[in-house]
Every structure is written in structure tokens, then in C-alpha cells.
Amino acid sequence: MMRHILCVALMLCVLPAQAFNLGKELEKQLGGDKPAGGLSLGGYSQEEEIAIGRQIAGNILGAAPLAKDDKLQQYVNRVGRWVASQSERPDLPWHFGVIDTNDINAFAAPGGYVFVTKGLYRQLNSEAELAGVLGHEIGHVIRKHHLKILQKSQLIELGGKLLSKQAGDNANVQKLIGTGAEISARALDKDAEFEADRIAVVLAGRAGYDPFGLPSVLQDIAQVSKDEGSVALLFKTHPHPNDRLDQLGQAIGDRLDRVKGKDLEKRLYRIK
């Protein structure tokens, strides 16, 4: 009986969530506060979450491979893991990668996979800015923003099938996530982006960085013309940087005035 009600509730949730208080309530319950490994309300276990993320990550890498610079990849993993360590999911197997494309963008996949494009990396001026960018993607992971999309679009409980094959190309997971890495080309709702921005400044601040790294990057990206091909996908899938800055400004107010973090401009690894 209970299950039946939940099922109906989930179906309602497929409609724009903002339109219903019920949708909002459900979103809260679907949130990232559940204990890791727990299954509830059609949610995924941590193992399943990682299996889904792994499939998406492998597809993203199929679209753009890692930049061939081991020092860069190591550096980004160190910064990223330190920032992720300040989150409520420090023990996910976090993986970070810079992918070889001049597009300006960053991606996250469930379970702790985070990508920054070389085009975006080149825009950065300090380690604090990198921390901010990674913090935004870490925010998507810890609040399970992509999983929520999958949960809303897929009412079928795949359950144990997801894990039938742990490594390699997983056909069951692929069925769930659609074609290739199309989920990474889809827009999350604006609130999810604004939430990830708020998380980013806080995680960077907690990690000892100047929390204004992400806003600085957004200020830079706001200067890039909408017609510029390198930001086409970013602008299509995210609110305009000026709107994000506006939202961040309202959320921050004077709350971060006492935070004196480091920029670490000199430690930023520069791509040759």
C-alpha cells in the first residue's frame, strides 16, 4: 500500500517539481542526506551510484580524452580531493580529470567523477579558482543532482541488475542513462546550479581557500560572448553567469566577510 502511494507520488514528480509542494517535499526526501549505501524511495545504493557514474564518466572520456599531462592530472586530483574532503561525503572514491577540449565547461557524474575541460582550466588564475570550479561539481555529486534526474525520468526499479557487471561497459546502466553521455549535455534545474554554486564557495572556504574563486571565474566567463562556440554548451545548460553571480551575492551577503582564505596563484599548475 505504502509502496503504491510512493509510486503515484513519484509519477507526479515527473511533472515540473516546482509546480507542486509535494514535488518539493519529495525532492527533500530524495536529497543527499541519506546514509551511504541505503536504498529508499527508489533511490540508488552507493555502489549503484558509482556504477552509474562510472558509465557516464567512461562515455564523457569517449567524447574527449584526458589531457596528456600527468602532472596536471595529479595536481587537479590533489586539489579536488582536498576540497571534497570538506564535504559530507569525504570517503567517496573521488576522481578528477582535465579533458582535452577547448570548450569551456565542467562536468560531474554520480559517485565522485569530476571533469574540467582544458578550455576552462586555461581561464583559471589561481588554485582558489580551481577549488571553486571543482567545488561546484562536487556539489552536484554530494546532492545527487544527476541521480535525481534519473530517478524522475525512470520509474522502473532496475535494482540489482545495475550491478550485474561491475567493470567495463555496462549495458544495463547505459539503458538507464540514455544515449552516450547525453545526461551530461542536459540542463539540471536552475536551483540545482545555484545550490552547487553556494556549496562551491563554502567548500573552498572550508578547505582554506579564498571562497571567491568561483565568483571570479564566473566574472571571467560572463565576459565571453554568448556567440562564442566554446561556451555554447555551458550557456545552454547553465543559468547565465551574471544570474549565478546575482544569486550568489544574495546568498553570501556578509556571511563570508571573516573568511580569510588563500588564493595560491603561484601554486596553480600552468598548462604548457
Binding site: 600527468d70 575541460t117 563554502v202 581557500y209 566574472q219 560572463a222 565571453v224 544574495q250 546568498a251
Partner: protein, 168 residues
């Protein structure tokens, strides 16, 4: 002689540290212009929404600016960058690039492979690259040591509440 040498070095350092050539901006909202980049600093003037500014440099969440009302520091999130003045030799991102040594902010992508929706949709799973990425993973301990090398200290900081009314 020696002093001159130092000045050159300092100037170089200043550019490398992310400062830029003057860029135009506009005050997004009424805010105080401060004598130094922190909230408790003396108020030099009050900016009104729409006031034109010249942004001289950035320090943390603050811009050092020049305006008709005076010079000082204003919070970054109270300013919208851009709208370069006419006749200004440097403007926008190109201007920033000119002031930032070594970053080579070339954003034109003509003829270079991008990453669009179609690329992502048609992407095929790449196990080899994924394994490489997973092999680069760093432990929490390693990350902590890396942070300590730069004297990064973790602090307590609450998450920010969603702004009331969701903005505009």
C-alpha cells in the same frame, strides 16, 4: 641599480599574480566604497546602483576601483564587470589576457574540436581512459599533505541558505 632590478621583478610578480589592466565596470547595487579590502575598513564613499567604475585589481572578494566618487575597494559581487570604455586599448577578456602573464587566454576555437551536445550523445565508452583517470586518484591523506604544504588550514563554515524568494 639593484633597486631598479627589484622593481622590475616586483612588477613582473604583480602581473603574474593575476592583476590586470584597467577594466570598466558598473555598480550593481548601492554599496560602500572602502579604504581597504574588508568590511570593517573606513568607508570612503557610497556607490549607487549604475555608477561607472574602473576596476584596477582584485584581491579575494574585493575589487579596487576608481569612480567619480573616489577610489577604494568594493565587494566583487556588487560590481558587474565589462562595458569597456570606448577608445580603451584593452577590453573584456582580451584585456585580462593582456594583464595575465602565461595564461594565454585564447578563447577562439575556430577549427579546434569542441565538445557539443552531439559529441556527448554519440560518445562511446572508453574503458582505457577511464582506468587512467581512476589510477590518478589521490587518497584523503595525500590530499591533506598537499594542503599542508601550502599552509591551507581547514576551517568550519556553514552552508549558505538559499536566498529568500529565490532571487529576483
Amino acid at each position: 641599480m639593484r633597486a631598479r632590478h627589484w622593481i622590475v621583478l616586483l612588477a613582473g610578480g604583480w602581473f603574474a599574480a593575476g592583476a590586470w589592466a584597467t577594466e570598466a565596470g558598473t555598480a550593481l547595487k548601492a554599496d560602500e566604497l572602502k579604504a581597504a579590502p574588508f568590511r570593517d575598513a573606513k568607508t570612503v564613499a557610497r556607490l549607487a546602483s549604475g555608477d561607472k567604475l574602473d576596476i584596477l585589481k582584485q584581491q579575494g572578494g574585493w575589487y579596487q576601483v576608481k569612480s567619480a566618487k573616489g577610489s577604494g575597494w568594493v565587494h566583487m559581487l556588487s560590481v558587474r564587470r565589462g562595458e569597456a570604455r570606448k577608445g580603451s586599448p584593452v577590453a573584456g577578456l582580451a584585456g585580462l589576457a593582456a594583464g595575465r602573464a602565461g595564461t594565454g587566454k585564447v578563447v577562439a576555437t575556430t577549427g579546434v574540436r569542441g565538445l557539443n551536445e552531439e559529441d556527448l550523445k554519440s560518445a562511446k565508452f572508453d574503458e582505457a581512459e577511464l582506468k587512467k583517470m581512476e589510477a590518478n586518484t589521490v587518497s584523503k591523506d595525500e590530499a591533506r599533505k598537499f594542503a599542508a604544504q601550502a599552509q591551507l588550514k581547514a576551517i568550519k563554515l556553514d552552508y549558505l541558505p538559499k536566498p529568500e524568494g529565490g532571487g529576483k
